[in-house]
């Protein structure tokens, strides 16, 4: 199979050829392993990729094919896993020094669900350290590059997963989204990225950044694949009490085009403000225009607290992070500083050496926000704003069923462009943070390409209305017919051929 053929393969297509026996699981994974060996030197999407292990999983599937006539949903499909999600037996580094050699003795619920659905756990993908960042530059194992333009970042923090899907190293990947960490890299790499409703997917085994915001979500080349992956990942988990006791999302709940057409679309004006790149606003507006022509009811609405959401997010998320990252103290696991004399010195040196600058910055900000005397002014106020943001959405959903916005205020930027300016970096999350604060399901899909760079459009639905979100996204995908990326493997760089 050539890359050109595979470009338009959906999971259902892989399943069909596997089912017919046109290709074996081993042959299929070899194709993807081959793509990885072509692309990895250029993009560095994977932190851990063990070909032997991958082949062994495929071999197991051939030896013990499922008894049912119908293959399981993800039978033989390679799925890449962000490296802050625990897979037993292989490292879970979070892109950090402190967990450089950490191997989890147990597996995340989402990984178990992937395995049960027949997926092949392909490897662990790169990320900003502890999922804190928007460019995948802060990983201690080197930055990941955007396969669409190697001089640019893939977004973050799930940049490794987005780049792996965009370059077709794998057809599917999972990432984690706290304030936009799945949707923003999906937008930067021209693929589909989903943040499910908070509580839709188990967080057990996902290294916590901000507990009240973290959600695991799919990245894929097609909306239907993301929906399928969401179905596999979702559902109640007795090991996570923040996971909602609802039945899993099911793709069969997705409304038909007929029903979808009846949805009222809300366009929040705050998302088209001056802070958003004009070309991006234009592309999203033009997509909305096309929907209106299809007969959709389009309503301009207002989410008045949008401007405060980002700052409130940084108070709440970092407060939680400062506490969640306290466990990395060098006592029980992970790296411990050597040559220290006292307990306090051990703590200090371990954390100084083990964490990168952005992680330290966030721990300090979060610690400050929770400190006595500042708690009311910072953390509590952040929580209050969060309530206001949520109420904005609640009110909006009285008038409409779906909100459409740009996913990112900017195009993928150059490596190094924002890394030394944290505030500029934080601003890249400004359009993805509000729905995360409200816990709403949100999806980014590519609505256009401008000068070879993708433009992400965000679809936001009400709580646990993934059905509507996917319904509208499927409609849009077909309507816009923007093909998924298939960048050409770069030529060997000059001077590298020695």
């Amino acid at each position: 199979m050539t890359a050109e053929e595979m470009k338009n393969y959906r999971v259902s297509d892989y399943r069909r050829i596997l089912q017919k026996g046109d290709i074996s699981p081993r042959e299929l994974v070899k194709i993807f392993l081959e793509r990885c060996s072509q692309w990895e030197p250029f993009i560095n999407a994977f932190l851990h990729l063990d070909a032997e292990r991958v082949l062994r999983q495929a071999e197991e599937m051939e030896k013990f094919p499922p008894a049912d006539e119908e293959l399981p949903q993800l039978f033989g499909i390679p799925v890449a896993v962000k490296d802050n999600i625990c897979v037993s037996g292989i490292p879970t580094t979070c892109g950090s020094h402190i967990l450089e050699n950490y191997v989890s003795p147990y597996e995340a619920t989402v990984v178990q669900r992937l395995r049960r659905a027949g997926a092949i756990i392909f490897g662990k993908t790169n990320l900003d350290q502890f999922a804190m960042g928007s460019s995948t530059e802060s990983s201690v194992f080197g930055a990941t590059r955007n396969p669409l333009d190697l001089s640019r970042v893939p977004g973050g923090s799930s940049g490794g997963s987005a780049a792996a899907v965009a370059s077709l190293e794998v057809p599917l990947a999972i990432g984690s989204d706290t304030g936009g960490s799945v949707r923003q890299p999906a937008a930067f790499c021209g693929v589909v990225g989903v943040r499910p409703t908070y509580g839709r997917v188990s967080r057990y085994g996902v290294v916590s950044f901000a507990s009240s915001l973290d959600q695991v979500g799919p990245l894929s080349r097609f909306v239907s694949d993301a929906a399928l992956l969401a179905q596999v990942l979702s559902g109640e988990d007795p090991l996570d009490s923040t996971c909602a006791p609802y039945p899993p999302f099911s793709t069969s709940d997705i409304p038909s085009y007929e029903e979808t057409r009846k949805m009222r679309l809300g366009i929040p004006r705050e998302y088209f403000s001056s802070g958003v790149d004009r070309s991006i606003s234009e592309e999203v507006a033009s997509a909305v225009e096309k929907l209106a022509k299809e007969g959709f009811d389009v309503i301009e609405i207002s989410l008045p607290h949008t401007d405060f959401a980002l700052e409130a997010y940084y108070l709440v998320a970092l407060a939680e992070a400062s506490s969640n990252l306290a466990r990395f103290d060098g006592v029980l696991y992970g790296k411990r500083a050597q040559g220290v004399k006292t307990l306090m010195e051990m703590y200090h040196r371990t954390r100084i050496e083990g964490f990168g600058n952005e992680v330290k910055r966030r721990i300090m900000l979060g610690t400050y926000a929770l400190s006595s005397g500042y708690y009311d002014e910072f953390y509590l106020k952040g929580m209050k704003v969060r309530t206001l943001v949520r109420q904005d959405f609640e009110k909006a959903y009285e008038a409409c069923d779906i909100l459409l916005t740009p996913s990112s205020p900017c195009f993928p930027f150059k490596l190094g462009e924002k890394i030394s300016d944290p505030y500029q970096m934080y601003l890249t999350d400004i359009l993805t943070v509000p729905s995360a604060m409200a816990g709403l399901p949100s999806l980014s899909l590519n609505c256009a390409n401008r000068d070879g760079l993708p433009v992400g459009l965000q679809v936001i639905a009400g709580p646990f209305r993934e059905d509507r979100m996917f319904g509208l996204a499927l409609f849009l995908e077909e309507l816009l017919s923007v093909e998924p990326p298939i960048p050409a493997v770069p030529d060997v760089k000059e001077g590298d051929d020695e």
Partner: protein, 482 residues
């Protein structure tokens, strides 16, 4: 100088008797278990692990708070208490802060016949930390290890208002806490094993209208050390006040060996724990129905039961006190009364012989083989003078060790038992006929001769008759014959 006002408040931690830990399914029975054998990703705080509340913890805490007469708050909220210590695997302890389980309760106890009351400020639940180990097989001399078996075990913390006026009161109050938790069966309340722990705040003041400087005393591992440590503090602070010196606000540790409190070194600045609601555990409401259910099932509490025992069974305060010190023992007592309605006798035997045997065996009454039926059968045999008290004691001992009932013990020992005066008559007549001189002496007024004859009868029966009965029959025969 003599009318110094002593003010004491207690902070009591008790381990709640759940089978599983507070937020995972690991077992809680860590006594005698190898280090870190009762652990999992959750109680080790491994990256990615999450807590799920064991509902039983809430049930037990609600029972405790209700028994203390607390107002139950409608919502359950857990907070994180953030600090670094090697025995704390997550870098924070899951606890409760401004939303405890219950507030504004009280506990009553009696001291020298006087009923006293201490107000309870709050009852909350939290997880225990692990334990530092400084010596062991795998450790080098300069190394320490951490055993996380205790990590995540549920604790209830009870904070009293500063209503206690003396070390004696503190000890009594704490003993009442122990009775209470044992009654409710929410904790085994064992201070030596650490399932009941107590810290105290104590201050002395010259002016009864105000409180002095608060000193916190820790590391008191028995009721006796609570009493001793607080008495020491009273004396220490008295001397300081007398000398006109300042008492510094500090934490002091009780030294069990030297019998002094020692100032804990380290920073005196108040630590900032940065409490905030744990986002991994969502707040939830307590439903009225289950609260009602718990309220209805609350057992009679120790102080009420003690007073009822004194009134209903005419026991002394100390007798009743011993019986109600454990719910099991008090239950056993009342079960026995259903078989044999002689409260005084039953009480006497329980508070002496039964407790002595239990202590020797290191068991509690429920763990022992003895049943109320078997025990009262033995007492009934004494009542009927079928056996002597002395024999009964040794029979009881064997009943405890073997699990046999009284009759089985007796027949095993080959004691064929003379239980009627009729059976004795022949032996007595024989003895009278064979000892004419002694009979004559007795009839002549020598009391010693009677005792000699009793001895002869006892010898003939090989101790199988009760001396009372022998005396009785002998007396009758001698009077009849004379």
């Amino acid at each position: 100088m003599n009318n110094l006002k002593i003010t004491i408040g207690l902070e009591v931690h008790c381990q709640l008797s759940t089978r599983a830990k507070m937020f995972c399914r690991c077992g809680t029975d860590y006594i005698g278990k190898g280090p870190n054998s009762l652990t999992c990703p959750v109680c080790l705080g491994l990256p990615g692990s999450l807590p799920v509340l064991n509902q039983r913890v809430l049930d037990l805490a609600l029972q405790l708070a209700l028994a203390l007469g607390c107002r139950i708050l409608p919502k359950v909220v857990f907070h994180r208490k953030n600090y670094f210590y090697p025995d704390l695997p997550k870098g924070y302890q899951v606890s409760q802060y401004d939303y405890p389980i219950g507030v504004n309760g009280s506990i009553d106890y009696a001291l020298q016949g006087q009923r006293k009351s201490v107000r309870i400020k709050r009852v909350h639940v939290e997880e225990d930390a692990g334990k530092l180990v400084h010596e062991g097989m795998a450790l080098m001399p300069d190394q320490s290890g951490v055993d996380f078996n205790r990590s995540g075990i549920p604790l209830a913390e009870i904070v009293t208002e500063p209503d206690i006026r003396s070390p004696e009161e503190a000890r009594e109050c704490l003993m009442m806490f122990r009775s209470l938790v044992r009654y409710l069966e929410v904790s085994d309340g064992n201070m030596e094993e650490g399932s009941l722990r107590c810290d105290a705040n104590i201050s002395l003041s010259r002016n009864p209208g105000e409180m002095g400087v608060k000193v916190e005393v820790k590391n008191m591992n028995s009721f006796r050390s609570v009493y001793r440590a607080l008495s020491f503090e009273v004396e220490r602070q008295k001397v300081l006040l007398h000398e006109g010196k300042e008492i510094s606000q500090e934490t002091r540790h009780w030294d069990e060996i030297k019998h002094v409190t020692v100032s804990s070194r380290g920073k005196e600045e108040a630590e900032d724990y940065r409490y905030f609601p744990d986002p991994d555990l969502l707040p939830f409401s307590i439903d009225e129905a289950s609260l009602m259910n718990i309220r209805e099932k609350l057992p009679e509490l120790p102080l009420e039961r003690k007073e009822r025992f004194m009134l209903e069974y005419e026991l002394t305060e100390s007798e009743a006190g011993v019986l109600v010190s454990s719910k099991m023992l008090a239950d056993f007592f009342e079960e026995c009364l259903k078989e044999l309605n002689k409260p005084k006798t039953v009480c006497n035997w329980i508070t002496t012989e039964v407790l002595r045997n239990l202590k020797n065996l290191g068991k509690n009454i429920n763990q022992s083989e003895i049943t109320p039926k078997a025990f009262t059968e033995l007492l009934r045999m004494i009542e009927k003078k079928e056996i002597s008290g002395t024999i009964a004691k040794s029979v009881l001992e064997e009943m405890f060790t073997s699990g046999m009932n009284a009759r089985e013990v007796i027949s095993k020992r080959g004691i064929s038992f003379i239980s009627s005066e009729k059976e004795l008559e022949n032996i007595v007549v024989d003895v009278i006929e064979n000892n004419p001189q002694s009979v004559a002496d007795y009839l002549g007024g020598k009391q010693k001769a009677f005792n000699f004859l009793v001895g002869q009868v006892m010898r003939q029966t090989r101790g199988q008759a009760s001396p009372e009965m022998v005396k009785n029959v002998l007396y009758k025969q001698l009077s009849a014959g004379g």
